[in-house]
């Protein structure tokens, strides 16, 4: 009789304790409108992460300030074709920066899509990676945009119609390294804020290496012999950190209405 009384009490207390601690943990993880990890998350630490899971990039990842790249990248030397293309490009940043009234950046002035690979070379904000049996989906906070990386073994298309975000296929090189090849990008897009150009024949390789449970390294290589004299690597093992489960991301959308209001305000002030 006494035992029958004590056991349920112990179970109830345990259940109560668990419900309190578990719900607290869940509440801590479930934050709305996250803008990214705190900056100290990117400081070197002695804490050892758990090993990386096999063939798994699932989660929301943040590169912190290193993903923003506001001034653009140092590209390989351009070809004569690249030089000609640069005559029409007026960036607001980098070595060819012009003053505000002359900038013609299609993203920041017109709110055109960033396109690929600019989406990962500029404002690489927190990104959720989702794996399905035949795709890996990249869900980007910046622009609230997504990409589909096909993993069903298909070949890249021949002579594809250009797309803002191209055509991507991926494969596991080993259990911790996923490699993506992308072609077919619209050559109206810039590669970065410095206005580095590309041709429609560009091929981009992304290597996602999961170093451990909490760290993903991204290397991006630009292969575009029409625009550049050699291949170059704007991201070389850029570290991305795993965000807590349950992270809800902010919207970060370039609204043409808001951009127009901003421009109107600036123009009014100049008069």
């Amino acid at each position: 009789m006494r035992r029958r009384f004590i056991v349920p009490v112990i179970n109830s207390v345990a259940a109560l304790m668990c419900s309190l601690t578990c719900s607290s943990a869940v509440m801590l993880a479930q934050t709305w409108n996250s803008s990214g990890l705190p900056r100290d998350a990117f400081q070197p630490t002695q804490a050892k992460s758990d090993p990386a899971p096999r063939r798994d990039l699932t989660g929301t990842w943040d590169a912190g300030n290193a993903g923003i790249q506001g001034t653009g990248h140092v590209a390989a030397p351009v070809t004569p074709w690249g030089e000609e293309r640069l005559k029409d490009i007026k960036p607001g940043n980098g070595p060819r920066a012009v003053t505000e009234e002359f900038i013609n950046d299609p993203l920041s002035i017109m709110c055109d899509p960033a396109g690929f690979p600019r989406l990962v070379l500029y404002e690489l904000r927190p990104t959720q990676i989702v794996q399905t049996p035949n795709q890996i989906l990249m869900l980007y906070m910046f622009e609230k945009r997504w990409r589909v990386i096909w993993t069903d073994g298909r070949e890249l298309p021949q002579n594809p119609d250009p797309r803002w975000y191209g055509y991507s296929v991926g494969r596991w090189e080993d259990d911790y390294t996923f490699v993506v090849q992308t072609i077919g990008m619209d050559d109206r897009t810039w590669l970065d804020n410095a206005g580095n150009p590309h041709s429609a024949d560009m091929r981009v390789e992304e290597r996602y290496h999961r170093r451990d449970r909490d760290t993903l390294e991204l290397t991006v290589t630009i292969n575009d012999p029409i625009a550049y004299t050699k291949a170059w690597t704007p991201h070389d093992k850029l570290p991305l950190k795993l965000m807590p489960p349950g992270t809800d991301l902010m919207e970060m959308i370039c609204s043409p209405t808001e951009a127009a209001a901003y421009k109107k305000l600036v123009d009014t002030q100049k008069k």
Binding site: G92, N93, C111, M252, V266
Partner: protein, 135 residues
């Protein structure tokens, strides 16, 4: 210059030269390196992409009013620095340090905001509040 003065006006030009912020959506080439210090009355705070902007009125020493518009980075970046959609109320008086544009128009990029209640907000790339000129 008394804190109790109702008039709001330009208090000084801080001649300390700082380097321009390295992060920018549009560009850095338009902004002067000189840091201005202004005291003004907020008229509007707009929390939008690709830039948030603050408008405020500054009363000049001759009694005229200059309407200023200054930008910050986007809401995502600013929220990481403690700024929110409700950081400013129309009608409140703030003191700002900022970089104006080179052509002299009343447009600029905020660096530091001092509120009357003692709060201080820093913009992107600003690691410590810009000092206010000695009174």
């Amino acid at each position: 210059m008394s804190n109790k003065m109702v008039g709001v006006f330009v208090v000084a030009i801080n001649l300390v030269v700082h380097s321009a912020p390295v992060l920018a959506h549009h560009g850095t080439a338009s902004f002067d390196d000189k840091i201005l210090t202004l005291k003004g009355t907020v008229t509007e705070w707009v929390w939008s992409n690709p830039h948030c902007f603050l408008t405020f009125d500054v009363k000049e020493e001759n009694g005229s009013v200059t309407h200023w518009a200054v930008e910050t980075q986007n809401p995502t970046t600013m929220s990481q620095l403690g700024w929110t959609r409700t950081s400013f109320k129309a009608g409140e008086v703030v003191t700002l340090t900022l970089q104006g544009v080179k052509n002299g128009a009343p447009i600029g990029r905020v660096r530091t905001v001092y509120f009357a209640d003692g709060r201080v907000l820093l913009a992107t790339g600003v690691t410590a509040p810009d000092p206010l000129p000695a009174k």
